[in-house]
C-alpha cells in the first residue's frame, strides 16, 4: 500500500507480530519506540532477533518495557548491538549473564557498522566494506580486503522483518519528522524494515501539512502508524 494504515492503539499495531522475527529498534538515550516495545512485550512475541545500538538496562517502571525487559524475560534469541551496557565486570548486565549462560546469542559490532548495516539493508545494498574494527577481535574471522592500500572488512546489510520507529510528527501519508537527537537510528530503521511501524508523539496531521523539504522520512517507507 502506498499509504500507511493508522491504528488506534499500540496493541493493535503489533497484534499480528509473530515469533521468530528480526526487529530493528532505534534509540540512543532518546528516540526509542518504547510504546511499541511495551505493546510487543505484552503481546508475548518471542524468539526475536533484535538489532539495536545497545541493549538498555531493563526498565523498572512496570508500565514501560524496553529491549532490556524483552531480554530479561527470555523473549530475545539474538542481539546485534555495539554495546551491552556492562557498567563494571563485577556487575554484569542481564545481557552478559545470559550470553555467558548460552541463553542469548550476541553479535557485537562497532556502532558505525550497526548503523551502516541498517542503512545498507534499507538501500538494497547486500554488503559493503568498512575500516572499523580492522586489527581487533571484532573483525576476527571476517573477510578482509585492501582498497587503495588500506584494509577493510566486509559487512552485510540488514533487512529486518519489522522496524519500530519513534517520530515526533507525522502526516496521514506517513511522512515523518524527528526532533533533534531523537532522530538517531530512526530514519535508517524506517527504510530497513519490511514492515515499518511508527509511534508518533504528536497527533497525526493531514497529508500536505508539512513542507516537502522538511520531511525526514518519506511515507513510502512507512507501513503502520499509531
Amino acid at each position: 500500500m502506498a499509504r500507511p494504515t493508522i491504528y488506534p492503539t499500540m496493541a493493535d499495531a503489533v497484534a499480528d507480530v509473530p515469533d521468530g522475527i528480526t526487529l530493528i529498534v532505534p534509540g540512543f538515550g532518546v528516540g526509542t519506540p518504547l510504546n511499541l516495545l511495551t505493546a510487543l512485550h505484552q503481546r508475548g512475541t518471542k524468539e526475536i532477533t533484535v538489532v539495536q545500538n545497545g541493549a538498555a538496562q531493563a526498565s523498572t517502571d512496570p508500565s514501560v518495557r524496553n529491549v532490556g525487559n524483552l531480554i530479561e524475560d527470555g523473549r530475545v534469541k539474538k542481539l546485534i548491538a555495539s554495546f551491552t551496557a556492562a557498567t563494571h565486570p563485577s556487575r554484569p548486565s542481564i545481557t552478559e549473564q545470559m550470553a555467558r549462560a548460552g541463553t542469548l546469542e550476541v553479535e557485537l559490532l562497532p556502532q558505525g557498522t550497526v548503523a551502516e548495516r541498517i542503512r545498507a539493508g534499507g538501500a538494497g545494498i547486500p554488503a559493503f566494506y568498512t575500516p572499523a574494527g580492522v586489527g581487533t577481535l571484532l573483525s576476527e574471522g571476517k573477510e578482509h580486503r585492501v582498497f587503495n592500500g588500506r584494509t577493510y572488512v566486509l559487512e552485510e546489510g540488514i533487512v529486518a522483518d519489522y522496524a519500530f520507529v519513534h517520530a515526533w510528527k507525522a502526516d496521514t501519508a506517513g511522512n515523518l519528522i524527528y526532533r533533534h537527537g531523537a532522530r538517531n537510528y530512526n530514519p535508517i530503521a524506517a527504510m530497513a524494515g519490511r514492515t515499518t511501524i511508527v509511534e508518533v508523539e504528536e497527533p497525526i496531521v493531514p497529508a500536505g501539512t508539512f513542507s516537502p523539504d522538511e520531511i525526514h522520512t518519506p511515507g513510502v517507507f512507512v507501513t503502520r502508524m499509531v
Binding site: A123, G124, A192, P206, P218, V220
Partner: protein, 214 residues
C-alpha cells in the same frame, strides 16, 4: 498507451514511470486508488504533467517534465531515491523500450552493439529493473520500417536479461508469462491476426482477449 497503463495500475501501488509515453500515465489514475508516483530524481508523490501556470521551476520528473505535487509529496537526495528503488519498494516500473523478448528481456539504452557507433545512456533503468516487483514496457509494436520490436531474443544490448511481465504497444497489450508473449488486448481497428503478424515471436492469444477500451 498511457491510459492503458494508468488503468492497469493496481490501487495502492508505488510506481516509477520512465521517460516518454510512460510519464503520461500519471494523468490517468484515480485519486481514490492511492497510487504513488516516484521519480529517480527524488520526488516522491507527484501528479500529472503540469501546465505552464502550475509548474514549479524545481519540480520535475526524471523525464524532464514539470509535474504537479500531490498532498504529502516529499523530496529525497539521489542516493535515498535509489535506496527506495533498490530496496524493492517499487511495485511497478514502466519503461520505454526498443525491443522486448519473450524471455522477459528488453533493450532500451543503446541502439547498437558497438560502443563506437552509439555510446548510449542508461539512466536509472538498470537500477529500476533490478529491483522493481514488476517491469512493464510502453513501446512501439514495430519500427518505422514495419519490423517487429517484440522478438524471440533481443538483438540490442539488454537493459535486463529478464523480468518483463507486460508490454503495452501502440496496437496491443501483451503479457509475458512463462517465456511466452500472450495477447490480452488489441487496439480498435486492428485484428488479432494482424497483431500476430506484426510480432516477431510466437504470440499466444488469451482466451479473454478483447479490444482496448479507451
Amino acid at each position: 498507451m498511457a491510459a492503458v497503463i494508468g488503468r492497469r495500475l493496481r490501487p495502492g501501488s508505488v510506481v516509477n514511470l520512465g521517460i516518454g509515453i510512460p510519464t503520461l500515465a500519471s494523468g490517468y489514475t484515480r485519486e481514490e486508488d492511492d497510487i504513488l508516483f516516484t521519480s529517480e530524481n527524488g520526488v516522491i508523490g507527484y501528479g500529472r504533467v503540469a501546465t505552464p501556470e502550475e509548474g514549479d521551476p524545481d519540480v520535475w520528473n526524471a523525464g524532464g517534465q514539470q509535474v504537479t505535487l500531490v498532498p504529502g509529496a516529499s523530496f529525497v537526495h539521489h542516493a535515498d531515491s535509489f535506496a527506495l528503488i533498490r530496496s524493492g519498494r517499487l511495485d511497478v516500473t514502466v519503461l520505454g523500450a526498443y525491443e522486448a523478448a519473450a524471455d522477459g528481456s528488453f533493450a532500451n539504452w543503446r541502439l547498437s552493439n558497438s560502443a563506437f557507433d552509439n555510446l548510449g545512456g542508461i539512466g536509472g533503468a538498470m537500477d529500476l529493473v533490478a529491483s522493481a516487483k514488476e517491469i512493464w514496457l510502453a513501446m512501439e509494436h514495430t519500427t518505422r520500417e514495419g519490423k517487429p520490436r517484440l522478438l524471440d531474443a533481443c538483438t540490442l544490448p539488454v537493459t535486463s536479461p529478464r523480468g518483463v511481465t507486460l508490454v503495452v504497444t501502440d496496437i496491443a497489450v501483451v503479457a509475458v508469462r512463462d517465456g511466452q508473449f500472450v495477447l490480452e488486448e488489441y487496439a480498435p481497428g486492428y485484428t488479432v491476426e494482424e497483431v500476430v503478424s506484426l510480432t516477431g515471436a510466437p504470440l499466444q492469444v488469451s482466451p479473454d482477449v478483447k479490444e482496448i477500451a479507451l
